[in-house]
């Protein structure tokens, strides 16, 4: 591949990657892939990729003016390197963006309890208004609190996607979320049982807002907090489909 063509292709790919990241940022779909506290890094990436593309474009313009000097550069070109960068762009553009859902439980596993917590949050958590707690907060409470009676009959209002499995009764479903620390690669999932007479009519993986009061149940020898639902409302996929521990 001739030098200038190679450089142009390289710069175009950098620009495409920059636009791809910027697009994901702007559309909010970045939250399908990484923990949003890494957004500053992604912004750095977008800016630096643009800077690199600009440098290569202007290098190209300069080398057109002084053609002979740049001939010795030709040997470090491996066009295959460039073609590989097309792969993530193709995957990102051809496969519609979709956050992880219950189909990933088969490989990622599914929990109703566990220490999915960073060391500092436990104390803070129990002071929050019951209506402001998300699925993860409630699961943490079932796990950490020895005595859950103060939490019974509190009002809960949580958003998550519907998941039903064989262990549940017909009038129950899980309201579930994925938890990620870094990116979708380390996702794990949690769920909270909801009692709702029409549970059967809910579509697997549809997003719902569950309102109701807290009670408890025992599943596989563990006491879990559950929601006796008073209302179930369909909602769009939230801006942050995952929760962060």
């Amino acid at each position: 591949m001739p030098h200038r063509l190679y450089r142009s292709f390289q710069a175009l790919l950098l620009l495409a990657l920059c636009l791809f990241f910027a697009g994901k940022l702007a559309s909010g779909q970045l939250s399908y892939y990484i923990n949003l506290r890494f957004i500053p890094l992604t912004i750095f990436g977008v800016i630096f990729l643009a800077l690199l593309a600009q440098t290569l474009f202007s290098e190209n313009r300069r080398s057109r003016q002084q053609e002979h000097e740049d001939e010795h550069h030709d040997h470090d070109h491996v066009p295959a390197n460039l073609w590989f960068m097309v792969v993530p762009l193709a995957i990102g553009l051809l496969i519609p963006a979709r956050p992880l859902d219950s189909s990933a439980f088969a490989t990622k596993g599914f929990n109703t309890t566990g220490p999915m917590v960073s060391s500092d949050s436990a104390a803070k958590l129990f002071e929050t208004e019951s209506q402001d707690r998300n699925v993860l907060d409630w699961v943490k409470i079932s796990y950490y609190e020895k005595d859950i009676t103060p939490y019974l009959d509190q009002q809960a209002s949580v958003i998550g996607f519907v998941y039903r499995d064989d262990q549940l009764n017909e009038n129950q479903f899980y309201v579930s979320r994925f938890i990620i620390s870094c990116c979708a690669a380390d996702a794990s999932s949690i769920g909270m049982i909801v009692n709702w007479d029409d549970a059967k009519t809910l579509k697997q993986d549809s997003w719902v807002l569950v309102k109701g009061s807290i009670s408890s149940t025992i599943l596989k020898d563990q006491t879990l907090l559950v929601i006796d639902a008073e209302s179930i409302q369909d909602v769009p996929v939230p801006e942050q489909p995952y929760l962060y521990p």
């Binding site: 010795h72 390197n81 960068m85 995957i91 596993g109 060391s119 620390s181």
Partner: protein, 338 residues
Amino acid sequence: MFSVQTTNSSKRLSRPLVVAVIIIVLILVASSMLPIIFFTWLWDRLNIFATVFLGIFVEAVPYLLLGTLASGLVEMFLDRDQMSRWISHRPIPAAVTGALMGMVFPVCECGVVPLTRRLFHKGLPLSAGVAFLLAAPVLNPIVILSTAAAFGWKAMLLWRVGLSLVIAVVVGLVFSVEKDASNVLRPVLDMAHDHHHEESKSFVEKIRAAFVITADEFFEMGRYLIVGALLAAGLQTFIPQSALLTIGSGPVLSVLVMLGLAILLSICSTVDAFVALGFVGTFSFGSVLSFLVFGPMVDIKSIIMYAQVFKKRSVAYLVLIPFVMSLLSGIIFNYLSP
């Protein structure tokens, strides 16, 4: 000479292409006989695959850019004489300095590979470079802070840093036995020529030149990052994590499981502490520690990137010695404080 090489590489490319086309045709023929439910299953898998792959990729690209930028700047602003003044050529001091250099360069396991290769090119001794390669992803300030945020300034952090240092220095010393670097490192085409005009270049021109190097190296290393992320995402799409977790909870098996997980997950060392936190309840101190020590040194994408810089036998050493040492230390911890 160069034209010969291009024809070679185009020949190498075309055969996989033919094989790929044949496989796709076979898959199309075979799939026309399958029921619909298989396709919804496949579509779901494909979506998980894409999300996990892009997760790793989007997360890693800024770090890779930082690493290749550091490499570009080293190329333009650091000359060989300075390097040999700073770094001793005796094996032990070189390995220790190399490992401690990680504190200066804030790079994680994606960025450290191109940077190490550049430092080798600048005359860094083998033992120092290898120690740097293994230690930098743990010793750098970002990782220390994130580990402290997850586990506090306590035993886990101290042992993580200490053990990583020890392993990095040991592997560095093993490599110091080899006097001829060309037996260990793969030859690199684009570094064969020297930039003879360096002295005369202005600061801005040097920065521009560093950016061009950054771009070239970003593509060169990005290629292996992409292959590694594809593999990791593929494994995560088809192998249940629970399969690993249920294998065993014994003092030996649980360490093996955590080491396997470290390879499989392929997450960046800057955040793996938060992921490890999720295993604290289910796994012992020693097992989680082995995950935190081994993960930054070896995972799918870093193995593939190592293979780009080192020859096969050296890659085997780089993977196996840390593996055995992390395994042993994990087991020892499990027996001492179960």
